[in-house]
């Protein structure tokens, strides 16, 4: 780190007009430029795989794998060092000829379930995957039953007089519709 700073400190001399925060501020400024790497992202130019199909596979996998030290970022979006390491691991695995599923399994074995943005289907995650399907099926069944047995019109809770007034209120302007 200090080595890099000494390379860069001369750069700061060319920085614009003196400001009240100069001096101590510049050092902090530079340290932070390096420290807060989560802000700007991501896959660097040197990282592309020679075979375009493999490169596409790699990039699809990057977006499924979570950067384990970041806030809710995939390793495709993160420029943290560990994200770069994880991307390199994935490229190595692809080059070794592992399938996508095998690569996901290796990542999970090393970092735990947390690392995959698509949770695998297991006993503990069954509800996560199945509940929406259950909602759809239950709703669909209710809908089908509702159509099979059309409800009878129940007598209105309003007196005929009230009903007439309500209809007038509600439909008074329906003439304007085509």
């Amino acid at each position: 780190m200090r080595g890099l700073l000494s390379v860069l400190l001369p750069l700061t001399r060319s920085f614009g007009p003196p400001s009240p925060h100069r001096g101590e501020g510049i050092k902090v400024f530079l340290v932070l430029l390096f420290a807060l790497t989560q802000i700007a992202a991501a896959v660097l130019p040197g990282e592309a795989m020679p075979d375009p199909r493999q490169d596409q596979r790699a990039r699809d996998l990057y977006s499924e794998v979570r950067c384990v030290v970041c806030q809710n970022e995939s390793i495709a979006d993160s420029s943290a060092d560990i994200a770069a390491d994880m991307r390199r691991d994935i490229r190595l695995h692809i080059a070794e000829g592992l399938t996508d599923t095998q690569i996901r399994d290796t990542m999970r074995a090393r970092y735990g379930d947390y690392v995959l943005f698509r949770p695998r289907f297991a006993l503990t995650t069954a509800l996560l995957w199945l509940l929406p399907v259950a909602v759809l099926l239950t709703g669909g069944m209710i809908f089908a039953l509702m159509n099979k047995r059309p409800e009878k019109t129940e007598p209105s809770a309003l007196t005929p007089d009230e009903q007439a007034r309500l209809d007038r209120l509600l439909d008074g302007d329906n003439g304007s519709q085509s």
């Binding site: 130019p45 809710n72 698509r118 996560l128 509940l131 009878k152 209120l169 519709q177």
Partner: protein, 656 residues
């Protein structure tokens, strides 16, 4: 002095809200029946008190009164005025006060616009709203008072998180809260109707404008937040399925379903129990969002300072209100008379299907957000739920809903004719299929997954837009009758129809933008020294200069990039990397070159021995991602101004 008055006003708002609820409760007892009407005056007074309390907080922020703890923590004398003001809602405490103010003002609006509501219903609504107001003002006053003083006054404030010092984000929270809290009125209406045991077409008509109003604010609020993430976070993403984004998305989805089911209740006196359920659900999700963001159970860019104790208090409020609402619902929903009958092919049916699918989509978002939290709490294991999960669950559900959308908007009420609707849609279907094919093949992607996404996106987007056009075409008979006649008919269409068409076109445009941006965007990263070039698709980006710029409360390194294509200079972009000494943080300031549809997006990264890292993104059709939702909001506003929703106008003419 003004600050103490503010605290006093907040206390006053709490007492007045409590009184508002108590007068209504008291009015239920026979000998006191008359006192319920005092709730009207009390709601106005409570709103004034809350506005004054919030004004005091604004005053403290504008004058940088660091004796107020919240100002000291979140403001700074060097901050531009806009961000001093927005600092008032930039923290947990301040935003709670904003929440309370909005809630009490909405209560007052029920009184002011409620001349046509029957007294019984109106007072019950005010009673529930008063109770909600008392709970939230009480919470703010006793656990998170933003106007609390410090014993020792610091010389300078700690400043607002620089990432939040941004025009889009200055307005994002107030709009979001107008949406969240707007649903409290809908909730109050639902509870009041359940207490009365009567839900009819008139009730649905009173509830719909409130839902629309809140929905419009929430739509704009979410869009602004998404736009902020897009250009402030610096990696060009606009939706991360972050739990906090989901927290704002869930009430939006519930409200979208409610808007559609309330139409059925209003027009056909049907789906009552379901409509009331959604009315309760929308605000429940709003409160859940508030809890998630403030409790510390989430780690997120958005999460406010974490404090478990406040989280538990908010959770208690959530369980009390939602629990009471849904218990009442279970007790009463069965007794709601079921209304109008409809055939299996009818607009009612298609809207029921639409509601089912939106509800499935909502359940995936809800599960995806809460499941990892619950799992960690119960088993200690952590999992991640991200974009790939939603791609397999949320997107198919919404896609199916979009598939039936044009049918729903052309189908007749009560008993529809599928054949005649299909005949009117067949051209739209053909063109959409063609668009799907073109999208999948011509957008320049060989990869099968991406081609599929593009095909589906183009097909669905085109289908919804063309289907919406067919609504106008059917109503005006354009090309079949003389143009002047078609124009006359077009102008005669109710505003609600225009609103519906615009909102649906907005949805279609959003889908087109979203799919093209995510599937075909280009990225180029390189380390550039002054004079060096970078290639981004058809564009050539040259770093022409580097300068240091001093801002009001930051200093920045600015890169000057000249962007050219084959025809010459396109634009000059000036991305910055800003350092805020007050909080010792660095932010990236993205430079955007707006093309008509596309964005060129530049980020200045870290310096390196070879120069500076420059990240360039080409985001095709990105404009539609933000323009689409805004169009949806405009549609909502048009609907809101439809005279049929202004019950007052209709009834004045009819009262005689």
């Amino acid at each position: 002095m003004i600050v103490e008055l503010g605290t006093f006003c907040l206390g006053l708002a709490f007492v007045l809200s409590l009184a508002q609820a108590l007068t209504v409760a008291g009015g239920a007892v026979k000998p006191l029946r008359g006192i319920a009407r005092f709730s009207e005056g009390l709601s106005l007074a409570a709103a004034v008190a809350a506005i004054l309390a919030f004004a005091a907080l604004l005053y403290a922020f504008i004058t940088s009164d660091f004796s107020v703890s919240n100002v000291a923590k979140h403001s700074h004398t060097l901050k531009p005025l806009l961000y001093k003001i927005s600092g008032a809602w930039g923290s947990h405490e301040g935003s709670m006060l904003l929440w309370c103010m909005v809630m009490l003002v909405f209560g007052a609006l029920v009184t002011l616009n409620g001349r046509n509501l029957p007294d019984g219903l109106k007072h019950k609504v005010l009673g529930v709203q008063g109770l909600l107001g008392a709970l939230f003002t009480g919470f703010t006053l006793f656990s998170s008072n933003p106007l609390a003083r410090l014993a020792e006054v610091p010389y300078e404030g700690a400043s607002l998180n620089p990432m939040l010092q941004d025009p889009a984000l200055a307005f994002h929270p107030p709009l979001l809260y107008l949406g969240y809290v707007g649903f409290s009125v809908v909730f109050s209406f639902a509870v009041a109707a359940l207490i009365e045991g009567r839900i009819d077409r008139a009730w649905a008509r009173w509830v719909r404008p409130w839902t629309l109003l809140a929905w419009v604010f929430l739509t704009v609020g979410i869009t602004l937040g998404s736009f902020w993430a897009y250009y402030e976070l610096g990696w060009g993403g606009w939706w991360f399925w972050d739990p906090v984004e989901n927290a704002s998305f869930m009430p939006w989805l519930a409200a979208t379903a409610l808007l559609h089911s309330a139409i059925v209740t209003e027009k056909r006196d049907a789906l009552k129990a379901w409509t009331v359920f959604l009315a309760l659900l929308a605000f429940t999700f709003s409160m859940m969002g508030a809890f998630l963001v403030r409790s510390g159970v989430l780690t997120s860019v958005h999460a406010f300072a974490v404090d478990p104790q406040r989280g538990i208090l908010l959770l208690i409020i959530l369980f009390l209100t939602a629990g009471a609402g849904f218990t009442l619902y279970v007790l009463r929903a069965g007794s709601l008379s079921s209304g109008g009958v409809f055939a299996s092919v009818s607009r009612e049916s298609t809207l029921v299907l639409n509601n089912l699918l939106i509800f499935v989509a909502l359940s995936t978002v809800c599960l995806g957000t809460l499941y990892p939290l619950l799992m960690e709490a119960t088993t200690g294991k952590t999992i991640s739920v991200g974009a790939p999960y939603y791609g397999l669950s949320f997107i198919p559900a919404m896609g199916a809903a979009m598939l039936i959308l044009p049918f729903a908007s052309l189908m007749a009420w009560k008993r529809g004719d599928l054949k005649s609707v299909w005949k009117r849609l067949i051209l739209a279907a053909g063109i959409s299929l063609l668009l799907a094919l073109l999208g999948a093949t011509l957008m320049g992607h060989s990869d099968a997954k991406s081609a599929l996404s593009l095909g589906v996106g183009f097909g669905l987007g085109g289908w919804v837009i063309l289907g919406s056009w067919q609504v106008i075409q059917s109503r005006t008979q354009l090309l079949k009758v003389p143009f002047a006649e078609a124009w006359r008919r077009f102008r005669g269409l109710p505003l609600a129809t225009h609103g519906m068409v615009l909102a649906h076109v907005g949805l279609g445009l959003f889908v087109l933008g979203a799919v093209v941006e995510t599937q075909t965007k280009l990225t180029a990263v390189d380390h550039l020294a002054v004079g060096q070039k970078l290639k981004l698709g058809a564009y050539e980006v040259t770093l022409t200069d580097l300068t240091r710029v001093a801002g009001p409360n930051y200093e920045a390194q600015r890169g000057i990039l000249s962007v050219r294509d084959a025809w010459g200079k396109v634009c000059e972009a000036m991305p910055e990397r800003r350092f805020y000494p007050a909080s010792s943080t660095v932010t990236t300031e993205v430079a955007l070159c707006f093309r008509p549809l596309n964005d060129l997006y530049f980020v200045l990264g870290e310096p390196s021995p070879q120069g500076w890292q420059v990240r360039a993104l080409y985001n095709p059709w990105a404009r539609l991602i933000f323009f689409g939702p805004l169009l949806m909001a405009v549609g909502g506003v048009l609907s809101l101004f439809d005279r049929r929703l202004r019950v007052g106008v209709a009834s004045k003419g009819n009262k005689g």
